[in-house]
């Protein structure tokens, strides 16, 4: 039971209500608090990696506060330093072809880009918004990033018109709108 709860909390990534836990475990909600008590006693030790937080009828898995400094170092590493070549390419596609969807970016790069897009978002280089026509999020360069590049508008990028309207890429993107099988 304990291990099942940890697996649920881990994959959910957010606080899970006691009611929901009971439902998932096919147990009675009234039994859960006692189970959680034991779990907390077992998990939340001075040196354990993860803590079980019970608060206001919800449970969440977090890292042990003792490692707070290490953990903040992890997120700092993720958004610092130079861009890798795949990151730079993805950013270039978003700058020249915006507004562009993830499947479209992937058609051009020929590689899955989920993690890269997420990282560019976290660094504030790009922005995400919902597109009514494409029915999925589209990405554009952020204002902060344009300012950083020292250009007033994205169209001021070198070769903008040429790259933005390239016919062969346009044709490739038409196919990206076909849903994946």
């Amino acid at each position: 039971m304990n291990e099942k709860i940890i697996a649920i909390l881990f994959s959910s990534g957010k606080a899970v209500s006691v009611k929901m836990l009971a439902k998932l475990l096919e147990a009675s909600a009234s039994d859960i608090p006692a189970v959680l008590d034991r779990l907390v006693k077992e998990y939340n030790t001075k040196s354990s990696a993860l803590y079980v937080l019970v608060h206001d009828g919800s449970v969440q898995l977090v890292s042990n506060p003792a490692y707070a400094e290490l953990v903040s170092q992890v997120s700092k590493e993720e958004v610092s330093g130079e861009l890798t070549r795949p990151q730079l390419e993805t950013l270039a596609i978003i700058c020249y072809r915006a507004p562009v969807t993830k499947p479209e970016i992937e058609q051009i790069r020929g590689v899955n880009c989920s993690l890269i897009i997420r990282n560019l978002l976290m660094r504030g280089l790009i922005e995400e918004r919902d597109d009514m026509a494409k029915l999925q999020p589209v990405y554009t360069a952020s204002i902060d990033f344009l300012r950083h590049l020292g250009i007033g508008a994205i169209t001021k990028l070198p070769d903008y018109t040429h790259f933005h309207a390239d016919e062969r890429i346009g044709k490739l993107l038409t196919e990206a709108s076909v849903p994946e099988v």
Binding site: L83, L88, G124
Partner: protein, 231 residues
């Protein structure tokens, strides 16, 4: 269906060959390959092989025809490695088994999930411009991407040309037969640039026979193939 999805679902030439041999419960040997050559050619004729894969199918056809010629007429010399196709097929068979393993595990749905995440947008975003990004590096990155897509665009172009080539060959043979009632296969392949070219002609010939536009006569095995116009 998209260009990629269509190809992804199509069986390769070795898969077909393996199925033909296994249907007859034969071992993978040169003798077996000779035995299934006709079946393979019939398959090629009947199936709509995607033009992108036609060259690979024809290559195997050419090698099969060579092996069969050797089985029938041992004086025909095989190339340096006589068992290459049999070896390749045995190797392929190994990986068919490996693919079955993979399919089984994948189908079990025993997935290890990653840690759940809150959507990135709600997380704290710190503007952290990298030092290696400028308008020039973005331009170069995009140019590099376009260059990398070149072979991909070219591949589609070539595929298209291949379809055209079989159809053109059909037209060419048909036209030639309008001028004279009879010709030989050697006449058609006289200007052939490569083995592939010969096989393309052969395929065109099969197609014409199927459409009953020509009648084909071969006096003796591996003798001259004669084409006659069907009036």
């Amino acid at each position: 269906m998209s260009f990629e999805a269509k190809l992804d679902a199509f069986s390769g030439p070795l898969q077909i060959l393996l199925e033909l041999i296994e249907n007859k419960e034969l071992e993978i040997t040169n003798v077996s390959l000779a035995k299934v050559t006709d079946d393979y050619l019939v398959y090629l004729e009947k199936q709509d092989v995607p033009s992108e894969e036609l060259a690979d199918f024809l290559t195997i056809a050419a090698r099969l025809i060579l092996i069969k010629s050797h089985a029938l007429l041992p004086e025909i010399k095989l190339e340096e490695d006589a068992d290459a196709l049999a070896s390749q097929l045995k190797l392929y068979k190994e990986f068919v088994t490996a693919a079955e393993h993979l399919e089984r595990i994948y189908g079990e749905g025993r997935i290890s999930f990653a840690r759940g995440r809150t959507p990135a947008v709600t997380e704290e975003i710190i503007f952290a411009p990298p030092s290696n990004v400028s308008i020039q590096s973005l331009q170069i990155a995009f140019l590099y991407l376009m260059k990398r897509l070149e072979p991909f665009f070219a591949l589609r172009q070539v595929s298209m040309q291949k379809v055209v080539s079989v159809q053109e060959r059909i037209k060419h043979i048909h036209e030639a037969l309008k001028a004279r009632a009879m010709m030989t296969f050697r006449d058609i392949t006289a200007g052939a640039q490569s083995k592939l070219d010969v096989v393309v002609s052969f395929l065109a010939l099969l197609e014409l026979t199927k459409q009953r536009l020509v009648k084909v006569v071969q006096g003796v095995a591996f003798g001259e193939i004669e084409l006659k116009r069907v009036d």
